[in-house]
């Protein structure tokens, strides 16, 4: 999840292909066809490596930037238990970022390089994290909808053809379910609360619904990476297939809460056995991706500030390790 099919500048140029490579490519594709996993030291086409680096690093960045909108509510969570839960969730997001950077590093790229790209504004992360968290209900809506959309995307990634990515995703999926359920639990409490609490829940759903649908990335007709990614089993389903599934799962959950989804065109299509829904405003999506969302500048500024403020700690840790190593030798 959290990768919206975008080209990232700075990927390495493809290496020249030779007759040898054609034979290697044939064997590589045969292995993928046979559902074998590709492991770090195995030969792989450069485009496969670059696609994975782009996808896994965008995913990792999204986990790290995703800590910010929710971290915003840790000090203001309504009870001590909610505070403890939110801290655990935000810590999980950091952990997910760590698993994913670790998976990306198996492809021969360094974490430092990837973080540099993020801080320099050259890397993408999910558009969803450029929206503000204005009320406590937003924390509920993020868990329910944003993590719900993430799970929808991530479950098929557990079967991704690249071993380290697939293993990281299995670990992440086990933890995401807690995130989604705690979010729905917040919404449930608000929906069963006072009129003001119900309004707060509805307002959060109104603001998060469309950005959540955009999380699945551009429509299949406009997605530049889908075909090859599906062929190489990096992706198992297209953006539109996953988006449809998400809508079908989520509509009854909203009905149970007694909340209405902000889409007048939404209706159940009995013949097709699925929901029809209104047109997504792709102009808004593209604006947010280009850096013009409500919080793009704030998010990157916060990441940079945290990175700079932590520099002395990282340097001190290295100095301390060097001193202890020198003493051990002496």
């Amino acid at each position: 999840m959290y990768t919206q099919g975008l080209t990232e500048p700075g990927v390495r140029p493809a290496t020249e292909s030779t007759p040898d490579d054609a034979e290697r490519l044939r064997r590589f594709e045969a292995r993928i066809e046979a559902e074998e996993k590709i492991e770090p030291k195995d030969w792989m086409p450069d485009a496969y490596r670059q696609t994975l680096i782009r996808q896994i690093s965008q995913h990792a960045h999204s986990e790290i930037v995703g800590m910010l909108p929710e971290g915003n509510w840790i000090t203001r969570a309504p009870t001590l238990l909610r505070k403890a839960i939110l801290i655990a969730k935000v810590q999980d997001e950091g952990g997910h970022g760590a698993y994913l950077y670790s998976a990306a590093e198996t492809l021969g790229v360094s974490r430092a390089e990837l973080i540099d790209q993020l801080l320099a504004g050259r890397a993408k992360y999910s558009s969803i994290f450029n929206y503000p968290t204005l009320s406590w209900a937003d924390v509920g809506a993020i868990g329910w909808l944003v993590d719900g959309a993430a799970i929808m995307n991530q479950i098929p990634l557990c079967r991704c053809s690249y071993g380290p990515y697939s293993r990281a995703m299995i670990r992440i999926c086990k933890e995401e379910s807690f995130h989604q359920r705690q979010g729905y639990d917040i919404m449930l409490k608000l929906a069963r609360g006072t009129a003001a609490q119900r309004r707060m829940a509805q307002d959060a759903l109104d603001r998060w619904w469309w950005p959540s649908l955009m999380m699945f990335g551009p429509p299949d007709t406009a997605s530049q990476h889908t075909a090859l990614s599906v062929r190489w089993k990096i992706k198992r389903f297209t953006n539109d297939e996953l988006r449809q599934k998400f809508v079908d799962f989520t509509v009854p959950q909203a009905q149970f809460l007694g909340l209405s989804i902000p889409d007048p065109a939404l209706r159940w299509d009995e013949a097709a056995k699925r929901h029809e829904f209104g047109a997504i405003d792709w102009r808004e999506f593209n604006d947010v991706l280009k850096g013009h969302g409500p919080c793009n500048r704030e998010r990157l500024a916060e990441r940079r500030a945290a990175h700079d403020a932590g520099r002395w700690v990282r340097e001190a840790a290295v100095a301390h390790a060097a001193k202890r190593a020198a003493r051990a030798v002496a």
Partner: protein, 96 residues
């Protein structure tokens, strides 16, 4: 990390429960082994996934080359007589 260098990489192995082997779970960056264990605790055992952690500098791991797979593992393929099911023992013979 826009710093000159990142901390070294450590591979992490976790024993899930007493009696099981340590199993590779991923990697962390750390300034030294003590910090690698602390980071591995935070990253890989937030839900009681382990009772013991091994950390090894990634550069200290020596791995076989997938290109040598045939040379390394092919010789075992035709030695089916290494498996007990290769031998047919008459039914009358018990506890064998």
């Amino acid at each position: 990390m826009s710093d000159a260098h990142d901390w070294p990489l450590y591979e992490i192995f976790i024993r899930a429960r007493g009696g099981l082997d340590h199993k590779h779970v991923g990697s962390v960056h750390a300034a030294d082994v003590a910090m690698a264990i602390e980071h591995a605790r935070d990253v890989y055992t937030r839900r009681l996934e382990g009772v013991s952690i091994w950390v090894v500098r990634s550069t200290d791991i020596v791995a076989s080359d997938p290109a040598d797979s045939d040379a390394l593992f092919e010789p075992a393929r035709d030695k089916i007589y290494r498996h007990p099911t290769f031998y047919e023992i008459p039914k009358e013979v018990e506890t064998l």
